[in-house]
Every structure is written in C-alpha cells, then in structure tokens.
Amino acid sequence: MTSEEIREVIIDILGDIAPDEELGDLKDEIAFRDQLELDSMDFLDIVMELRKRYRVQVPEEDYGELASMQSTVTYLEPKMQDVEKA
C-alpha cells in the first residue's frame, strides 16, 4: 500500500467509528484528539480495526504513533507496504 492508500484506509476507519463527522476537512498534521476529540477507546478501536481488516498489529507501546494522520501514515508505511488494498 502506498501512503495515499494508507491514508484512505484510516479515513475509512474514522468514517466508520464516527459516521457523523465531516472528514473531508481533516488536517493531517493536527492531532485526531484535538480535531475529533477521539479518546483512548477510539484509538484502541483504530488499532483493532487495522488488525481486523489488514492483520496489522500495533503493539500498545506504539499507540502514541497514531496521534495524527501524518504520524499514523508514517508509522504504518513500513508495516503495510506488502499489504494489498482491500
């Protein structure tokens, strides 16, 4: 997956978690917590959705890497480079 495809995956997951949110205006460099007020339960959900959909494991000590779209894509790139887009 390319970084652009990974970004789409994350947008898709966020759209699933928060269907009432307008995600078109999401700023990649600003923390999800500040833009969408996601809490720790939601971050865990992103991790669980990644595992469910792509079998990507994010260990607990790396949860901090999922703070913003930018950091999430950077973190997931090496982990998902061999993953086929669903």
Binding site: D16, I17, A18, P19, D20, L36, E37, D39, S40, M41, D42, L44, D45, M48, K52
Partner: protein, 473 residues
Amino acid sequence: MYDTVIIGAGMSGLAAGIRLAHYDQRVCILERHTTIGGLNSFYRLGGRDFDVGLHAVTNFTPKGARKGPLARLLRQLRFRWDDFALAPQIGSEIAFPQERLQFGNGIELLESEVARAFPAERDAFANLMEKIVDYDDLNQELFEISTREILAETIRDPLLIEMLLCPLMWYGNAREGDMDFGQFCIMFRSIFCEGFGRPFAGVRLILKNLIRKFRRLGGELKTRAGVDHIHVENGRAIGLVLENGQEIEAAQIISSAGLVETMRLCDDVSQVDTTHAGRLSFMEAISVIDVEPQDVGLEKTVVFFNDSESFCWERPDTLIDARTGVICSPNNYAYTGQGETFPEGMIRITAQANFDRWHALDESSYQQEKTKSYNELVASAVRFIPDFRHRVIATDIFTPTTIRRFTGHDQGTVYGATHKILDGHTHLPNLHLCGTDQGFIGIVGSMMGGISIANHCLSGVHSSDSPILEGGS
C-alpha cells in the same frame, strides 16, 4: 462452541454483543424471556404502547457533541446520532414543599436556580461542581466515599443538599440512605450537566436498532433460554446448561444477571454472599389521560417530589412510600419529527416499594393493594403537579414482584447490588459481569458498561486500570 455467551438481552448485554460480534467473535445472547430489553423493555396493553424502565434517556447531548458518554457510545457501536432519534426534554423540576428548582439540559438553568433560591450557596455549589469535574470515574476506592459527607463539607443549607440528592438517588442509587460519591458524580453529570432525551417511539426504537445491528454482525439471540447453571471446572467456566437441559460451550461468559444472581448460577459456588444484595424496588402507577399532559397544566418532563424533612431513600416497611416519587410524561419532550404527536397523554409515577410485602400478598389482596397504592401515590403526586385524575381513561401498575418476574433480580431490585464491581471481574478469569452491578446506570450507562466489558474481553487485558475502561454513565 461460542467465543462468548452473554446472559441477558438488556442494554448492556446487547451492547457487549455488538462489540464482540463486530470484531468477529462468535457470540450468543441468552434471554430468559420472549422479549428483549431486561429492565428497559416495553409492552402493549389495550392497544397502547408502554415503556418499562425508561423515563428518560440520561446523558443526553445534542447532535454534533463529541464529548460525553452518548457520543462515545455512538462511536463504539457505530451508530449515527440520528439512529436513536432523541428529542430533548422540555424541562424538569425538583419539587419540595419549601422550594422548587427547575433544571433543563445543560447545567446553566440549575446553576441560576440554585443562585436564585439559595443565594448564600452560590460559591458552595461552584465548589461542588469542581469536585465533580475532578472526580476520577474508575478508582474503586474513591468510588465508595460518602456523598453525604462530601455534601456536608461543601454545602451548608440542608434543604439544598436534599434537593440535589433527590433526583440523583432516584435515577441510580442502589445504596440506602447514603450514596457512593462515584455514583453521585456519574449521576450528576448525566442528569444535571448533560440531560434528558427520549425517542418518540420509546425504548423499542433503541432496542430495535441494537438487535438489528447485532444480528447483522452475525450474532445469535436465543429467547426463552433461561440459564440453569454455569458449569465450572478447574477454576474456569466451561459452559452453560439451560433450563431446558441444552448444554452450550463458551470460551468466555458475560453475565448481566446481577452479582448475587450470577454467583448462584455457578456450580462451584455453594454459599452465595448476599451481604451486598440490593433491596430497593419500585412500584409504578401509570395513568393514560384523554388529553396531553400539557392540556391539564403538566408542562414538565420529569418532576422529582419529596415532602419529608430529609429526603428518605430507603426501602419502606410498608408496601410503598408515597412521600417521595418521580412523575414523568413521555409526551413532554420537544419532538420535531413528522407525525410525532400523541393522541392522548401518559403520566407515570414511581415510588419506593417493599418487595417482601408485595410478595407475601395472595392474588386477590395483591389486586386490591395495587389499586389502593395507585390511589395513594397519585394523590401524593398531585400535591406537586396539576390534578389530572378526572381525565384518566386507563391505568396500569407494576410492583416489585413484576420487576422480579421480568428481570430475575432478587427483591425486584432496579439498581442492583449496593457494592459495584466497576471492571466486572468475578472469581473466575473468564466470567465477567456487565450491567447494573457493574455500577453503570441508565440506558447510555448500561450500554457503556457492556462495551467496557467487551473491550476488556477483546484486548485480554486483566488490570482494572486499563485505559480502555474509561467509564462514565
């Protein structure tokens, strides 16, 4: 073999089931009755729809709010705000003979009412608010400190203390006399800081959405499937035996049956500790009137009334205690949907009741006492709201024995055990509690409770301070 079997298709069990099924677990919910909902169910009588339990969905926050338990619940269960179609309350009231306090959704109205009626307590109320905001939900030790002690340290006027306690105890206090400070904070936020809402179609709309989602995710629901016992071997639950003899294997069990009730199901437990069993139960007098309540001058969504010196929150020795009660009307919400008007009105009045007294009555005295208690309770309530008795066209009444029949809870308790187990753990590693005895109260609260236990099961984390267990009512 199921990954998880859930006992009880109430709000908490259904919410837990959705989470687990969403993450590809094989889940089965066992429900003793033919209908789902548990404490929050519904029925039809004489061509009319009635709700049980639900007076109001507490924790109401408007569409677009991202904070608070309702927003969090919607994200966890993947619902849109519109799916629950909650209309906000019109306005509620705490009514004592000496004073009345209005409150609405959001803390502002209550704040100004406290300032108006208790000007000397303005700062004290602000101090109390700070303590509530700072309170950490999930600390089990802090949870059980005495609310009465904290209130006595903060507020001088005993009347204000009783008036604040009245609605919060009414909507979720399992203890008698006093209240856990943790529960008080949760209730304060869910009722005074957030507020009340209700779907026009009542609780059935919420249940319908939950069960539809659960089934779509592959979850199984078995009704008329009462559990006879949970089979335990070598310190683990390995399966369940139903009352009809059927055996079901499960890697994990989540029970919403209640703490004492669940322990009694375990075949490795010979002596069930009932020290913390709850015994608060209710009677409800339901009146259908031929006009809307507003036509007879009842313009409040919920009225919490009390006329004793200090608000008395305990099991009465008599059949009912009509000195304090809750009056609510499903008509009095700001519905805006098309066709969302009622042809008639419904007024529900709830009072404390004594299970043993009701249980001891034979059939004919039970019927007589129901009518007498209905009259006594309505007479008490109309001291605080306009008298509607000349407009009544139908009535229904439920008592503690009705509650026990439909929930299976000992003593017909509504708020469960007096000691809450926030993380739902039991003596077995793969048996968890969810629902009322986990300390999560209200429709949103009980669903959040189920979600927190499901998340706990999904992550396999066993510490109670796990970040995913970030609670709230």
